[in-house]
Symmetry: C2
């Protein structure tokens, strides 16, 4: 009798800023693993991302009911906890990698699914090299996620479509509001959106132009020129009586200084931004005298599962599912991707990219997506964006509130001594 | 043959800050007037509120199609334009009242429907006295509208239920997000909401407590005590690992100073607020060292028709409808009201209040709606709030965006000389 092939367990973790649909990817991973019980064992989730692996703080997802896992599809945030923690290189911190291998060994883990953005793709890539460099057989698959939409190769990233929809819808609604008030009151509305380096989210605000709204966008990709900007606002208000401005948190002066910095930095060394909207609003008030209102959407935008894009939710799930299928097929060091076939009708397929080409590469807005004056988006950009915000995928409600799931998150028994981070 | 009773036209205007459902009231007014053609003539809307009446800038709503008027029900903002403009007393500014009468006479207007909040109820009340004081027969009916929910007598005000739903949903979503990040990153999330004097909107954020979220509310009704507040945040973060804070824009120190003032004032002399969230967030960072995120919802909250409360939309429509019915019945100087019969199951009827008892009266949160420590809401408050956020009333979407209507707003031909405001 041939020896039975040993079934390995999987590790799954959520990393970096969470989104409205990262749990839909988790749902795709777990449901697909459950459907392939002969090939893949349990899915252990890292409590608070990779930290859960390092500290052997694993969550046994097999303790969750079928309906709880299904409910992840319509629950925003990271159900297992996320973290901002970047592994150093193998050379710089061998101790952490050795610990990861110990934990993987102790729990018979052969698959590593990492659900995150650019920095996380780098971590996943490093883990994928462990087989070669340290002799431990592990298959590492990265599941893309980032509202910033800045991962390369894939046409778009889960999380982005829903933020884009939220920003487009909210900008439209607030613009209707300002238009109503403009005669005697507010003439300028400024909304600040996420996006440190790439203006994808801000670009989504530009879609309201097609609904007759005068809108100006301040991209991180375009150096801020106050004089030119004030002239543009003045022209819009003179023509339409009001104007909406969408400012990216990453908007900056030619010398690199952000319009507003809070001064603190996160674990990855990124400046913590926020507060560009009031700066821009006051600038306009001073130059043109217009009454203004401003909003900073912050977490509201990336958590807004209530207005998630149906396309986005579907793709988030499909990419999670594909990650498990790729693992079963024996792949390592790859990321499933969305490959666009056509804009209208929107068609795409799920493809695959090597992590070596994904890690540490940031995708910015192409030049031909930004209008010549630097304050708007082009037809090409709109054709790219519309499919991503298509469709609504409403959660269920009870007593007026969405029914989001909180998992039991039962811990797997520890087998190893403690580890200091 | 008896002389045919002359059919009078109606004037309708939107006043003050607009909401997600003020157009649903407009829809109720116009559809009900259209259904009573034998009793009421055309509905002329004031372009930009009462200013439209003073400047004889009237919009002929009969030029709009049935479907355009129906679409108002699911369109946020003020379709005819609103204004911040308060009529002085008859004694202080007889000229404006004489002008109003001239315009009403010139366009055969016998009904005055004014859709607004507290200041507007005062204007409507003054107009309702014109028959008695200046001999011009006019029936003035006030249609309640205010996200602040601060009108007396009526159980609640159209616009509030939808903002409450938006704030409850958004606070829940953002809290799930913070909970995911709290281990290594953001531990405190602060969201700033509207409400200058009354904390109704902030209170809605308190509903997330029932979903297991640690939340602290800063009401305008409770004098801000920094020491007590920081201690409360510290306790929540120690217990739960994170904390959400909902701060009302009207939150202030014992001496009346707002946590953040922008320095400018609106036409009614109210201070223009905004920016309490970053103040609170930085205060916590300084005292406790926690990483924070903050959002200022501003117009996004009151314009958020995409997540409007079905109860709110229904009541906004019904109150507009009732206003016309009251006018037909010969009423003057009244406001239709929502009279609650029971919380669960939620039952109410549409009643009526005299404007003399509505104008210039502000309704604050009852003391027994605020928890003893001043940072939360009580069971009584929750029983009041839940019915108001019940149900979803989604607009139709096209290409991923809601299909909101922009009316033609055809002007009525002017018959009078110009009038300087």
């Amino acid at each position: 009798m041939a020896a039975k092939k040993e079934i390995k367990n999987a590790f799954y973790a959520q990393s970096g800023g969470v989104t409205a649909v990262i749990n839909a990817s988790a749902c795709g991973v777990i449901e697909t693993a459950r459907a392939n019980k002969g090939k893949i064992g349990k899915v252990y989730a890292g409590r608070n991302g990779i930290i859960g692996a390092l500290t052997e703080d694993l969550i046994d997802t097999s303790k969750e009911t079928t309906s709880a896992i299904a409910a992840l599809r319509s629950t925003p945030s990271g159900a297992f906890g996320s973290c901002r923690f970047k592994l150093k290189s193998l050379e710089a911190n061998k101790r952490e990698y050795e610990r990861l291998i110990e934990v993987f060994k102790a729990h018979n883990i052969g698959y590593f699914f990492y659900n995150g953005g650019g920095d996380s793709a780098d971590t996943c890539y490093k883990v994928s090299q462990l087989s070669k460099k340290m002799g431990y057989p592990i298959q590492a698959i990265h599941v893309p996620k980032t509202v910033d939409n800045d991962l390369p190769i894939t046409d778009n990233c889960p999380g982005f479509g829903s933020v884009a929809k939220y920003i487009a819808v909210s900008t439209l609604e607030a613009s209707f509001d300002v238009r109503s008030m403009a005669k005697t009151s507010t003439k300028v509305f400024v909304v600040e959106v996420m996006g440190r380096h790439a203006g994808w989210i801000a670009a989504a605000g530009g879609l309201v132009e097609d609904q007759g709204i005068p809108v100006l966008i301040l991209f991180p990709e375009v150096e801020f020129n106050k004089e030119k900007f004030i002239a543009a606002v003045d022209a819009k208000v003179k023509e339409h009586g009001f104007c909406t401005i969408v400012v990216s948190e990453g908007c900056h002066y030619p010398d690199g200084k952000f319009l507003a910095e809070q001064g603190s930095r996160d674990a990855f060394g990124h400046a913590q931004l926020g507060g560009a909207a009031p700066v821009v609003a006051n600038m306009i008030k001073e130059a043109l005298g217009h009454k203004f209102h401003w909003a900073v959407a912050d977490y509201l935008q990336r958590a807004a599962r209530h207005i998630a894009s149906k396309t986005d939710v579907k793709q988030a799930y499909e990419l999670g599912k594909k990650a498990v299928q790729l693992a079963i097929q024996g792949e390592n060091s790859v990321m499933p991707t969305v490959d666009r076939i056509s804009d209208e009708p929107y068609k795409y397929k799920i493809g695959m990219a090597p992590l070596s080409k994904v890690a540490n590469v940031e995708k910015f807005m192409p030049k031909n997506f930004i209008s010549k004056d630097g304050f708007g988006i082009t037809k090409k950009c709109k054709a790219y964006l519309y499919p991503l915000i298509q469709g609504e995928d409403y959660p269920k409600y009870k007593k007026g509130l969405p029914q989001y799931v909180t998992l039991k998150n039962v811990a797997v028994e520890k087998k190893l001594p403690e580890f200091e981070l």
